[in-house]
């Protein structure tokens, strides 16, 4: 892990020890069970009419929690050099930027109409 995390000699002072802490196999299994439970809940709430009003936000929260668990524990980002987390976060932020830009491009006329009405 540490080689992907960073070269130990390049590690900022005090972070090299942290970079070696990784979950045990038992913890990996516990996280996998948790991920399975979240997936089951995601699918189950899809079929519950009473939750229809909060279905989309609930699904997004559950999906985001699965995403964070896999990235943090299975990809070890929680335990690795914070610079790697920033690199990955930069990709995510740019991906979000692409999403917003594409949406704005596709809804250009609606946005212009809305701004005209506001003015």
């Amino acid at each position: 892990m540490s080689y992907v995390s960073m070269n130990v000699k390049d590690a900022p002072h005090g972070e090299d020890d942290e970079a070696h802490e990784h979950p045990s196999e038992r913890q990996y299994i516990k996280i996998a069970i948790l991920l399975s439970v979240i997936t089951f809940v995601e699918v189950a709430i899809y079929y519950i009419d009473a939750l229809a009003s909060i279905l989309v936000p609930a699904l997004i929260v559950l999906s985001a929690s699965k995403f964070i668990f896999v990235v943090s524990y299975f990809m070890h980002l929680k335990f690795d050099d914070k610079r790697l987390a920033w690199i990955f976060a930069a990709g995510m932020i740019l991906a979000l930027g692409i999403f917003v830009s594409t949406w704005a491009l596709m809804h250009y006329h609606q946005i212009v109409d809305y701004v005209d009405r506001m003015l």
């Binding site: 996998a32 189950a44 279905l55 299975f74 690199i87 990709g91 995510m92 991906a95 999403f99 949406w103």
Partner: protein
């Protein structure tokens, strides 16, 4: 590898953005078949579960190699590749079913964006399976030992990335209901029983 994953985030960000922007447009234009007529949630749930569990086998393979247990490492690498192959088989079956229902790449906006997004994800999984099988072959030839765990870790990061992309696709493409989803007349109870049966059939 992290730089590559960050750039791949942008790649899938563009594909997912396109899918979400055109979501529902096929219905508006009256060009079926529509997602709600085709998407099988229980079936895809099993596929999602299979890919999720392949992330567990991947970390177990790496943990085995890092403690010098080559036998365990090989076993878990094989299990990961096998689960990836099962996922790909499921995707092939799904694509075939959709095609037989009349959905092609150019049928409507759903077909174009769905096949492009999930097809590129499937391509990533295929590359991951080939990569893992190559590492397994190298390991069996004695070329993957405790000191070489970096090689497996890099493959593992790629594999987990493929998994998190599917986590997003599973929610946005499959689980978030489409507008005409509400027209389903099947009672809840029978749908829940059907879901449980499908998940059990998929597992055993």
């Amino acid at each position: 590898m992290w730089m590559f994953l960050a750039s791949d985030c942008m790649f899938f960000g563009a594909l997912i953005a396109t899918y979400m922007i055109y979501r529902g447009r096929s219905e508006a234009m009256g060009a079926g078949p529509y997602p709600s007529e085709l998407i099988d949630i229980p079936y895809t749930s099993v596929s999602a579960f299979v890919l999720l569990m392949s992330s567990l086998t991947m970390v177990l393979a790496l943990a085995g190699l890092q403690r010098g247990d080559l036998r365990a490492s090989r076993l878990w690498i094989f299990a990961t590749a096998a689960l990836g192959t099962i996922f790909l088989g499921g995707q092939y079956f799904e694509f075939t079913e959709f095609y037989h229902e009349g959905l092609g790449l150019t049928t409507n906006m759903f077909g174009t964006t769905f096949f492009t997004l999930t097809g590129f994800h499937g391509l990533h999984v295929t590359i991951g399976v080939v990569w893992l099988l190559t590492l397994l072959f190298v390991s069996l030839r004695g070329g993957l030992k405790k000191d070489d765990s970096l090689d497996l870790e890099i493959a593992g990061l790629y594999w987990h990335f493929v998994d998190i992309v599917w986590i997003v696709i599973f929610t946005l493409v499959y689980l978030i209901p489409y507008d005409d989803m509400a027209s389903e007349s099947e009672p809840h109870a029978s749908r829940v029983v059907g879901l449980a049966q499908s998940m059990l059939n998929g597992l055993f």
